[in-house]
Subunit: 332 residues, 2 copies
DNA sequence: CTGAAAGCGCTAACAG
DNA sequence: CTGTTAGCGCTTTCAG
């Protein structure tokens, strides 16, 4: 039975012309109720479904949005993708998901592929290579999340108050008595981490603690790598607190330090970032800075839809969502 | 500069006909090297990119594959999605990702949307509502993963040796001295969990331990829910071992039991399933049954590509990938 | 209110 | 080897 049935078949069945069918399906304006009924009956009877490819060719709209992100298995990006997709789905827009794997070259390929596919808009979490932003045509609706492109680009941007998060985390540690505070951060020069670092530095300054560059430990957000880094420095540097720029880093650190015999939080206190689901269920549970991922995701989706429907929105805006500290067992 | 340039422009620039351009771009057969050069030069000069929508309309191929899965934030599905996408990308096939959220109705919408989009094939992880499988047209290449549809459907299926996994986990606990072994399983009637349960039962039988239905604890794969379930039963049922059908369940259980004062593994030994990255870094690290997610993902992608290129492959096959036990601290 | 006709950009016979 | 032609399925003037 798999013969694809087209508008032509519906038209014949309903005894009207193709254009009338099209009219009924699209807006229903300028059509008698009677013809409407005839068409609708025929549509049902034949189980007709419009061919969106043909429609796309004609209208130059695809009802699809591309999402490029570094790694879907990172729980932050995973949740983000989910909330974006959820919202787009409400508007019958499909999501084309692309993992750049933090690789600018793959990212470039994906951008081109998505443009070729004529996506109506693009939501973009950069691999950190700003040049790829130049691939976007002027008139393509684009929303950038999380990793801020350099300032001179006129582009919509959404993220959390990362600096404030770093400040809150560090302040919490200081007020709990820590004086020698490590910061664990991504090795990449990517804005959220840098802003968290700025927050960390600002807190130290406010409490008159000297900033020491050797207290910044760089590692991929990878459990194994952070373990190796911790093993390498734990007996070279003296520290009583850790601000981990991501919960994954916090988990790797806690695990490694526990195995080395340190007590958390008695010997070393730790604050993470992101509030991934496991943070609450880790042993010990992890004090962390929560981001409102759902809000970021929904806002991104809403914004891209708005941009698609109304391309001329003038000066691009930025949006920053509040973060807050959740106190758990990894700090006193 | 954003005027979309088409094959016509290239043809004019190169001084040839549109069909010649098409020929050069597609296979290059039956064209002089000279014309080839002319065309290629024009393509480069104009920075031409083919319109895949138009091509799709004409060829009835979209070079895209749909992936429907229950929840991208579940690390098993996330990794699966990533490995599928990776492989498809090698073949220049785009992935349309859809989260059904374990909801048959959303799932149905997505199936229809993907069919409307004329995806070339579909990779499908069911929400557990088999009727949705009937929505697939006979001639659509489909690969089902993880959750096996009822046997009478002629459909390609890929998963792990779940029963064997359940057996290995339970056997390990028994050989470590456990006699009262809980099984934590998804509340859904979904095949992987049921097969793990069969493995659990088979192991008990082989070691002459009675199966007691009250030792099967059902919970969503959700940290909070499993916590509540454990709290409810821990002092009603006596147990010295737990086989958790998913690492997430294992983590929720360990955390809850630790808080209650039980020592893991001294008082209670636990084996999980999946080998998610955190299993290795949990406190204590978790003995688990590893699935070869990458292999499953790559196989699915390869299979769907094969089916797309060669629709008539006859009787549908099933593929089961080996699992193995990784010994860590949550068992002795 | 409805139908005819053109055309979105591309590919695939079919001639030559 | 290359050009002409038709048409994929739909929307959108333009007449009527």
């Amino acid at each position: 039975m798999s013969v694809k049935i087209s508008m032509k078949d519906v038209a014949k069945e309903a005894g009207v012309s193709v254009s009338t069918v099209s009219r009924v399906l699209n807006n229903g304006k300028y059509v008698t109720d009677e013809t409407k009924n005839k068409v609708n009956t025929a549509v049902k009877k034949l189980n007709y479904r419009p061919n969106v490819i043909a429609r796309g060719l004609r209208t130059q709209k695809t009802n699809s949005v591309g999402l490029i992100l570094p790694d879907i298995t990172n729980e932050f990006f995973g949740k983000l993708a989910k909330s974006i997709e959820e919202k787009l789905n409400e508007h019958n827009i499909n999501l084309l998901l692309c993992n750049s794997n933090e690789n600018p070259k793959i990212e470039k390929n994906y951008i081109e592929a998505l443009l070729d596919k004529s996506v109506d808009g693009l939501i973009f979490i950069s691999s950190g290579f700003d040049e790829n932003l130049d691939l976007f045509p002027e008139d393509l609706p684009v929303v950038v999340i999380d990793r801020r492109p350099s300032a001179d680009r006129n582009i919509y941007f959404i993220s959390s108050e990362n600096k404030k998060g770093g400040y809150l985390a560090t302040k919490h540690l200081i007020e709990n008595g820590c004086r020698d505070i490590l910061m664990l951060k991504d090795e990449k020069l990517v804005s959220p981490m840098n802003e968290r670092l700025l927050g960390y530095q600002a807190a130290l300054r406010d409490y008159n603690i000297d900033f020491r560059p050797e207290y910044i430990i760089k590692s991929k957000i990878d459990l194994k790598e952070i373990k190796e880094k911790i093993l390498k420095i734990h007996n070279k540097i003296k520290f009583d607190g850790i601000f981990a720029g991501a919960d994954r880093l916090a988990i790797g650190a806690i695990r490694t330090l526990s195995k080395l015999g340190y007590q958390i939080p008695a010997d070393i206190q730790i604050v993470g970032f992101d509030n991934i689901p496991f943070a609450k269920y880790y042993n010990p549970s992890i004090t962390t800075i929560a981001q409102q991922i759902d809000k970021i995701g929904h806002k991104s989706a809403e914004l891209i839809i708005e941009l698609i429907n109304n391309k001329n929105m003038g000066q691009a805006d930025s949006f920053y969502f509040p973060v807050y500290l959740i106190k758990r067992e990894s700090t006193t």
